[in-house]
Amino acid sequence: MQGESSLVRRILGVLTGLALLAVTVQSQAPVPPGEPASLPAPPPKDVPAKMDGVLGQLWTVYRTQGPTAAQEFANRHMIDDWKDGTIRVVVEVEDASPTSSDVQSLSPAVEPVVRRIEALGGTVEAAHDVRIQGRVRVDTLEELTRHPSVRFVRRPGRPFPLVVSEGVGRVGAPRWWNVTPYRGQSVRVAVLDLGFRGADRLRGVELPNDLITRAFDPTWWNVEPHGTACAEIVYDMNPGLDRMWLVNFGTDVEHSLAVDYLIGQKVHVISYSIGWVNMGAGDGTGPIDEDVKRAVRSGIAWVAAAGNEAQSHWEGPYSDPNGNRWHNFAPNSEILEFYSPTRVFCAFLNWDDWGPWNGRSYRGSDQDYDLYVWAWDPWYGWRLIAWSIGPQTGSEWPTEAVCLRAWRGWFGVSVHRYWAYRSVKLELFLWGATDLEHVVPEGSVLIPADAREAIAVGATDWSDDTLHDYSSRGPTNDGRTKPDLTAPSGVSSATYGRFFGTSAATPHVAGAISLVLAKTPYTPDQIRAILEGRALDLGPRGPDNLYGRGRLRLTP
């Protein structure tokens, strides 16, 4: 009897083990699940206008389910700045007058909105031109949007960071090091990034002794080491630098203030290994691109990472053959599937209805599309788990975004046409995602690498010049060729050990510009022309959307 019982237990144990193994294999293996022929209708849209989608949901959750549920929602959607029922937002203020000065001051329209924020119990942290960054109580969000000068309330734009480097020798920099400067100048190079953890430790070794630091977001300074790794490469390229500016920021408003600071410091080169999505039309316009233009007008060379998004990008015209308002990424494919290996991912949707850019704001969109996120459940199929359904009523941006703390497994995104009278081109970026079901590498260049004034840099392997498959590609949304150059990646770094990505490539170009600037009398514009002219042409002959003009080469 005891033997039979033991046998049964063993059999049950094995069966349980097999079942668990099957579930584990099904949920972890990169084998994409199937999908239904047609998705069901989405839930009702109940978020207020003049607010971005997730912010609107947060306000709704707070109002209907209370602060605890709202805090849980914020945590799951990676709204990390939740604090005692308040949240950090950016308020876009209505001001139709064009900008004039290079270093922008506050718009007069800002003052009444600042007073309104404070009257509602909020605090203002920073402001730039027509944007106010502040902390407001979630329950007052809807009331704030009713102020006549408020165009749009959104979460702050958050950039994403995209270790002697072997690329230095590859591009021929050492041959310049001992050259007597021919009417050179004292060169000022800045690395503008999210954080500089460990920079002090590398002072005088991997970085110049004299580091001029400025934190526009002190929280992230000692958390994120990305800027330190980039600065290392700039210094590897130009060890003659006796000082370097390290400046950080965390939001788009802080970004503008940081750029104003660097213009005031009269820096010559900005190394910028940061990328943004949903912060502009991808045609060289928008608040971040405007910062680049302002800097370049002041004589600064702005070197920007093209992005690492070639394999996590999809774009194409809205298509709905079965008329159910769900966009088809391909015939019979209304869900764009992807795998999340890190349990954290973000989906960003935008479409080409920004309206004209007047130098400080877009007109706004009245074509309303929404973004839905699905999770694959091996027992129940696709489950709707999150959405961004901000209304587009004429003043809001044509964007939706969802960031989630979820689990390792298969997910999908869908785009639903809520209300629109014209077809649009949709664009999706999926960060933290792999094995995207449908990939469109073309047009994956990030902001501000899309700016005409920025020198956009793609990534090639330092050892053999092959293009890294993740390196973002052009063209821009207005048809221009990007990137402008490619540079080595996958190089050694004291910070990271091995540093991959266009983030690593960018400081090679910034360092090269600083080197030529230090040794010659050329202006940044002329040096850009020289570097583009000397680049080692790779890929299709002439400039192309993979390599630009080719791989950085300092010697002919």
Binding site: Y182, T520, Y522, T523, A529, G533, R534, L554
Partner: protein, 237 residues
């Protein structure tokens, strides 16, 4: 109507600047015709020079200002005796020396100055072997600057071409000198000259050979004048 000096009076109908210019031109000519015969008419020892004299020699150049160092060169000249006291002269010389390297000026290397001078020598014989003179006229100088070879080679290897230049200029010169006849046809010559040449424009150029992108700038007020001491032989006939 005739002019008081008996020259034709085409200007009787002229007015203002034209008349003034005519007056000075003719007055200068008249002065020359009047004064020079007077000089030559003076009783002088027999001149040691024939109608035509050709000379060669060496020179030491001492440029004014800080842009160029002392140089050496060669010189050739030709003189045509109009009267026993007046000679027309034509000089050409070639001087080379070091360019001073200074941060906001030139970057070093060598200069070559090639002045061609045309003017007059006015003098008198001191005995039948010696002729002392004062000279003056205009010097058109070709300036060539060669950037330091190692610097040039370095930039060449990086794909750039460096050039530094000074404008060619016409400047006045004055000088003193003497000739000493050692045989019937051969003379020894010694002369010192000053070219008055400040404020000549100069420039530098850096050109990328790949893209032809060029950066350039000016080097203002290059002092191209200076003192030269010349000595040599001459042949006269």
């Amino acid at each position: 109507m005739k002019h008081m000096f008996g020259l034709p009076t085409r200007s009787t109908r002229r007015r203002g600047r034209s008349a003034s210019r005519w007056f000075w031109r003719h007055w200068t000519l008249l002065a020359a015709l009047t004064v020079l015969p007077a000089l030559t008419a003076e009783a002088q020892p027999k001149t040691p020079m024939g109608r035509v004299t050709i000379g060669i020699g060496g020179l030491a150049g001492f440029p004014a200002g800080d842009d160029f160092g002392t140089g050496v060169g060669v010189n050739a000249w030709f003189a045509f005796r109009v009267t026993s006291a007046l000679l027309l002269e034509l000089n050409a010389s070639w001087t080379t020396g070091t360019v001073e390297s200074r941060p906001t000026r030139f970057s070093g290397g060598r200069y070559r100055f090639i002045p061609v001078q045309a003017g007059l020598r006015l003098g008198r014989s001191l005995g039948d072997r010696t002729f002392a003179y004062a000279a003056g006229g205009g010097a058109y100088t070709v300036h060539r600057i060669t950037v330091d070879e190692s610097l040039r080679a370095t930039w060449e290897s990086l794909g750039f071409e460096i050039r530094e230049e000074v404008d060619h200029v016409l400047r006045p010169y004055v000088g003193l000198g003497g000739l000493y006849r050692v045989s019937r046809h051969f003379l020894l010559s010694l002369d010192a000259r000053l070219v008055i040449g400040g404020g000549t424009p100069g420039r530098w150029t850096l050109r990328d050979r790949t893209t032809q992108t060029t950066a350039s700038g000016s080097i203002p007020d290059v002092s191209t004048g200076g003192f030269t001491l010349r000595g040599g032989f001459a042949y006269t006939f």
